[in-house]
Subunit: 339 residues, 3 copies
């Protein structure tokens, strides 16, 4: 339980209205009830202010100033970035499951592995040779940590995470279920009509404060390591090939895929199901929109896209048929004969 | 073992030929042998009728009437929808693995969880605090059910399914291996040059009779729940973001992805690897073709597409190069100067 | 430790320079140090020859001949295919984790299953009824082998692999963590407004020497089997629908998806996140570039593509808008009225 005044002081926010109102949880503008805190960040939801039953709403100064117009009758907390302020406050109401220090008796831990006394290791977890689980780390049930891995201090493998081999996590890394780090990269040479596997000998290095989504895969490097710098955020079902390097503070949405040896800069945003071909370089602060394919290096910050817009299928068929004639059509327009 | 007559009576089908023939299994038109039941639904397979060795074939009335033309010499079962009729009959021949009631001794079950007496819980399964496994539910080996989850009556987690937290399944829900429900949604706010995690506090609600494919992920809501209404069918490797709502009877093919807070109607069909951006609304009875990207809301039922057709790479390169000049070309045609 | 002379003899390579130099590991041209072996296969890395600290570099004859020009001062091993030669030599330096024969005491093995005496079965592994683990097979921790499966001689399930039911692996098959083989295919019939599940009764057959990546899914056939012929190589997060058949020596990059009953030829290369619709046939030696959609059968070997190139978002928006007018524009050019 927190009063609006207490929240305003703790998070250095402005306060408009009765600061004694008590908050015991969070909700959306449309769904919150009395005693709940909501937020207004996206202007499209502004019309919901009039009818919200939330006791307190965190919003920008402009919205707070116009509360008479918007019809909002509750208490406002005023923030420069209402979404970030909400994120901080919501964390107060997040139930924290108890993860008592200790190793579940069912676990299978190699004698050469070390586990910090205050780490938590859940049921049915395996830890391989020469691996190290550092202070305060949490391994949920069903995790597999292979040989020569490090789970850094304060990191959490929620459940059923696999670190195959030579995977080193920094501090406060969070990995969601089904993720697989350190599987072999896809290295093949054709040799006398058959595939020859190229040994994958490198590891995976994950920087501090990274978060990795459910069922995401990050392959070990072929010779050197695959690297995520600090504070990289990967959503679910992302595929990162061997020897990729992702710069600090870059975020990638679900189902994106990065082929081997690509280098992605810092503060990039990669949209859902976007693809990045191998051996490319992408500079800092590049935005790739959803389902776009990056097929050559990008050297200028900015937003990039490929693909075509959605249409009704009948119209689309006509236009897509014309796409196949596009070069011919262009030659007609430009008056040049076909080569 | 079932006779053709018995099948005709049980499933209210027409019968042409010797109803005493005995059926002990199913096969394809091309691959079935004596004693097997096959079906003809897709007209492209009609030519296979002449040579099929299946003793009985379920087909539409038109095909049954033309059996002299098609050369089919076996017994016909006549159905309005031969594929649905086949599905019902094939279920008779499906081996049902024995899943004896009881909890495998290796399991790790929180004392506050409840498991129905007639439920089956396989080896190496964890069940967390305050979770409930209802009557007749089956949890195969290696499942993880976190805190505050419900596995409804008659539901089946085939094997190695993860319900992270606050996941509530209705009745007769079927989930395939590797699926992860209830992992954190991808909620981030940029704050002074670093990502700030937005707490994910909602749950996942799955309606009755839903089926969820292998390695599919469905994130928990940020504040409210992520919802699948009844009879939603998701194939493998699908990604459903936080706070998505999918209407009853909608089916999505493999590798489709739906970003956060999108609302999809009832009876929609989403093709393989199609993408749906966040916060959109799609009305009932919309069909999205494979690998299309839905980038704005859809308010009319119908079929929608994006992308271009496949071409040999040399022609494609020429046309794709012209796509980059398309606005310029169009201005030439329309006689308008470049802005 | 191997001398250059020993490597040259063992792998039938040419040798230029002091064959007595000792090699104890591998590295990249840029990163290797003394005592390490590197390779030059991709000409873009040729400039790195001058500065490499690698003691030995495997390269093509042309590069070896020009070593005075390139400034390379080390020992050269000369190969027709330097990448394949490197792959063979690197395998000498690959640490092989010890996988002692025997079954971990935590395992849950059905009495009707058989496990070869020299097979290794890691912790928390389940093996179902009538399944067979052949000689020299390795099952890492957390694997689930369902009913009626075969893990052929010398095959390896790295860790946490699921074979659901009726999955038969040939010899020397390698499967990475999180892969699910033999889950139900996506077979549905609409019946009176509800989905009716079509029983999935077939199996999965994987040929000798196949490799299957992390979190890849291969569904069981509806009636007959889903088949990978020998030496097929699948990267991570690939989806293979029911009754697909993939020809020998075909390789598919990460996130590719193949819908049900498609038949893919031998020696095909399928790019990352490419899609192949159901019931199509693709002949031998077809290359599909990344993120392309194959929507009709391919009968000629060659390289195929779809999609558009990447552009800055502002230009892309203009051109994508024109794509929606393409048929109209084409009619104007060709002087035909709109139908």
């Amino acid at each position: 339980m927190h009063t609006a005044t207490a929240l305003a002081e703790r998070f250095a926010l402005g306060l408009r209205g009765d600061g004694s109102v008590e908050i015991h949880g969070v909700g959306t503008l449309a769904g919150a009830g009395p005693g709940q805190l909501a937020f207004l960040a996206n202007p499209r939801y502004r019309p919901q202010l009039a009818d919200t039953r939330a006791s307190v709403v965190v919003m920008g100064e402009q919205d707070a100033d116009k509360s008479s117009e918007t019809g909002f009758a509750g208490v406002a907390l005023v923030a420069k970035d209402p979404y970030a302020a909400f994120a901080r406050m919501a964390a107060l109401f997040e139930p924290q499951p108890v993860r008592a220090p200790g190793i579940h008796p069912s676990c299978d831990i190699d004698p050469s592995a070390t586990v910090a006394d205050d780490a938590h290791v859940g049921a049915f977890t395996s830890i391989g040779a020469r691996s190290r689980i550092e202070s305060g780390a949490v391994l949920g049930p069903g995790c597999i940590v292979g040989d020569a891995c490090v789970v850094g201090a304060g990191s959490e493998l929620i459940a059923r995470v696999t670190l195959v081999t030579r995977v080193r996590l920094g501090h406060r890394v969070r990995i969601h279920p089904g993720a697989v780090l350190g599987a072999d990269g896809f290295g093949l040479a054709m040799d006398a009509g058959r595939w020859l596997k190229v040994p994958q000998l490198g590891g995976v290095v994950i920087g501090d404060d990274c978060e990795i989504g459910a069922n995401t895969t990050i392959d070990r490097g072929a010779i050197e390591d695959t690297v995520l710098e600090e504070d990289v955020r990967l959503d679910n079902q992302i595929q990162i090939g061997h020897n990729v390097r992702i710069g600090a503070h870059t975020a990638m949405a679900g189902c994106a895929a990065v082929a081997g040896s690509a280098k992605i800069g810092r503060y990039c945003l990669v949209g859902g199901a976007a693809g990045i071909l191998g051996h490319l370089e992408i500079c800092d602060r590049v935005v790739i929109t959803a389902m776009s394919l990056v097929s050559s290096s990008i050297r200028e910050p900015g937003e990039y896209s490929s693909g075509t817009g959605l249409m009704d299928n009948r119209s689309w068929r006509k236009n897509a048929a014309r796409f196949k004639q596009l070069d011919e059509l262009a030659r007609k327009i430009k008056g040049k004969p076909k080569q």
